[in-house]
């Protein structure tokens, strides 16, 4: 036990980790810069989406008369209008609204866990971390359903010029519009989903550490703060994906 105590003792020397640039601890500062670089990646994805969308023909007809075609970029409300258990009903953006709410809620429970960590309240940290894991996992489940629906397609599919019909989407064929639309859907929401998955794994790790009292004995819950920064970033990215992919 004495060895672990010396290992965790803070280093005070200027060149020994005692100096904190920008008055943020080493771990938090590095998390900020990692998130900045990650934001560039997501930014690149969304920029490509904007560019591809503007180099395709927009749909100019009446929204009511909209049909799927590879000729023009689809209206998101007409693509994402399904809800689990309500087959065949037109519920534009309802499911993605639910997913957004779940993710915002998970961000709140995360910040409550961080707040409990500041007060060294182990029970509260455990409680809020569990809620965050639950919401995160629920979001992943929703996304799995969203993907399954997008891949298998609607009942009508898309009528091609030769009279055949295409159902669903993959990387080369897409019933909803130009193939690039499906590719960008898979890459953008897939990359975001991978981040949510990593976040849930990190949350489970810090939950186990919290239960074992690792942070309590260390004297601070900074690890919860760092994972919290990552988790809020995932929520932040979803806010942008939601706007640029589903709303606009």
């Amino acid at each position: 036990m004495s060895t672990s105590t010396t290992l965790e003792a803070p280093k005070k020397g200027t060149w020994d980790g005692g100096n904190e640039p920008l008055k943020a601890s080493y771990g938090k500062l590095m998390m900020w810069f990692f998130l900045l670089s990650d934001a560039f990646t997501f930014g690149a994805f969304l920029i490509v989406y904007g560019l591809s969308r503007h180099k395709h023909l927009p749909y100019t007809g009446e929204p009511e008369a909209f049909t799927f075609s590879t000729e023009y970029w689809p209206i998101p409300e007409k693509v994402f209008n399904a809800f689990p258990g309500l087959h065949g009903m037109d519920l534009p953006l309802a499911f993605v609204a639910l997913m957004t709410m779940i993710l915002i809620l998970s961000s709140v429970t995360m910040v409550l866990a961080v707040e409990a960590g500041h007060r060294m309240d182990k029970n509260d940290v455990q409680k809020w971390l569990l809620w965050t894991i639950l919401f995160g996992a629920t979001f992943l489940g929703c996304q799995a359903w969203e993907w399954a629906h997008f891949i298998s397609g609607t009942d009508e599919g898309m009528l091609l010029a030769d009279g055949t019909r295409v159902f669903g989407a993959n990387l080369t064929i897409n019933q909803y519009g130009p193939p690039l639309f499906a590719d960008l859907f898979f890459f953008i929401t897939g990359f975001h989903g991978t981040h949510v998955f990593s976040g849930v794994v990190l949350l489970i790790m810090i939950f186990i550490n919290t239960v074992n009292g690792v942070y309590h004995n260390r004297g601070h819950y900074e690890m919860v703060e760092k994972v919290g920064l990552y988790w809020h970033f995932v929520d932040l990215v979803w806010v942008f994906v939601f706007t640029f992919f589903y709303l606009i």
Partner: protein
């Protein structure tokens, strides 16, 4: 772990939670999202609606980064370290979207 108990805080000294600001931020985020949905259904698609969506998104991003990620309470230098590179990304987005429009114009108007 028993050797560590002298470092522990005495039981009963855990302060009360201060969660008012957190729930306030949560309500702001939910309300802004609800407003976005209202615009999605009440207003026809167009540049004006897109501008409203982008402004509301930036409002949400501000509350998440400033309050939840606590950036508002960090040093000025750190705040600028994060905001300046992202401003450049936003600029790149504007530039490449207009590039996409130009590309579309070219292939529809000049090659038909």
């Amino acid at each position: 772990m028993a050797t560590h108990h002298d470092h522990d805080l005495p039981v009963g000294e855990i302060p009360k939670p201060q969660t008012k600001a957190i729930w306030k931020t949560f309500i702001i985020l939910v309300v802004v999202t609800a407003i976005e949905f209202a615009f999605a259904f009440a207003m026809d698609a167009g540049t004006a609606r897109n501008a409203i969506f982008i402004i509301l998104t930036i409002v949400k991003a501000f509350y998440i980064v400033a309050e939840f990620m606590h950036l508002k309470h960090e040093t000025k230098a750190l705040i600028w370290c994060i905001i300046l590179p992202m401003a450049l990304v936003a600029w790149l987005m504007v530039a490449l979207i207009s590039e996409g429009s130009y590309y579309f114009e070219s292939i529809t108007n000049y090659f038909n």
